[in-house]
Symmetry: C2
Subunit: 191 residues, 2 copies
């Protein structure tokens, strides 16, 4: 997606050889017009998949998933929770996800009320790196007996093992920008 690649080149900041800061438009300050273009592109890629729910994980995936849902007939968005509140259900699908950016193991939770065996679920997230978050979300979907139609990713770190790990589970991966390399502050996309 050219618009996204251009934006990453313009506003992304590479730190070391592994961290890409895109918090000016993707995961702290959010460019809603860009998110609409992202949503349209996910619709084009997953058109005909009869998506009934969109699943993401707090916090960075929520806005992208919500804007994207508008292009899928406003299907419900569910975000997996990393943190427990007193207002949560007790009956949840649970999975463990290790976050490399927070260096922490999370138990993610999705209420059993909101995914059922008839659902065709599109998973959306901002980044694909090691694939742990996507596997955890897919695990929750499959516990419900539902189908994962695929994973829609905004930025894939193509030099990490996420895609292989996720595809090995039979999950289709569509990334809008795939970074092949980012050494010395320079970003090279896979085209």
């Amino acid at each position: 997606m050219q618009l996204l690649q251009d934006r990453i080149l313009k506003d992304g900041k590479v730190i070391g050889s592994n961290i890409l800061k895109v918090d000016s438009f993707l995961n702290h300050q959010l460019d809603i017009a860009l998110f609409n273009e992202i949503g349209k592109e996910f619709k084009r890629l997953f058109n005909g998949c009869e998506v009934t729910k969109i699943l993401t994980i707090e916090a960075s995936g929520i806005a992208i998933a919500s804007i994207t849902a508008q292009y899928f007939n406003n299907v419900p968005v569910i975000f997996a929770k990393k943190y427990i509140g007193i207002n949560m259900d007790n009956e949840n699908y649970e999975a463990e996800v290790f976050s490399f950016t927070k260096n922490k193991l999370y138990k993610i939770r999705v209420s059993k009320n909101y995914i059922n065996s008839d659902d065709k679920v599109l998973i959306i997230d901002d980044f694909l790196a090691n694939g742990r978050a996507i596997l955890g979300l897919a695990n929750a979907v499959r516990q419900a007996g539902a189908e994962v139609v695929g994973a829609g990713i905004v930025i894939e770190k193509g030099f990490q093992k996420g895609r292989g790990v996720v595809e090995k589970e039979g999950i289709r991966v569509e990334s809008l920008a795939i970074i092949e390399k980012m050494d010395n502050g320079e970003i090279l996309f896979k085209n």
Copy 2:
């Protein structure tokens, strides 16, 4: 907002005299069509305020703020972070917020890059109860020398002290549904 009140009556669950579970449409599973109506209503209420940024707090506020931004010329949305990641800025506006639903004191952070003294900031959140989150967000805005044009709240617990606390700071509060009482599982709205 009648549509919202009807939905709360239909799908909200009262637990005890203080907890309202609305996770089927507001803060776990998200009804994006409803969020669009909420966004339109916030636009009607804050029309003419020349909003330049929308500020919210992770995680439940993000989707509402993002959909709402579409009715304010796609102004940038910023969500205050409760949890530190390695991809964060070091220069942040910080404020402390006590969460009653998580029974925890958070330090919230907003990068200094994304709010400046020219900004007119609309704060959006799903609930107003004790007002701590709104005060923390307003504190961050004011550290930036920017203006808080108001707080747009989806559901206000009118029987708690949030509105008084926030209005005392000179902040305009607009809530789309105000619950006056919710005893014995019954919800009574202030009209």
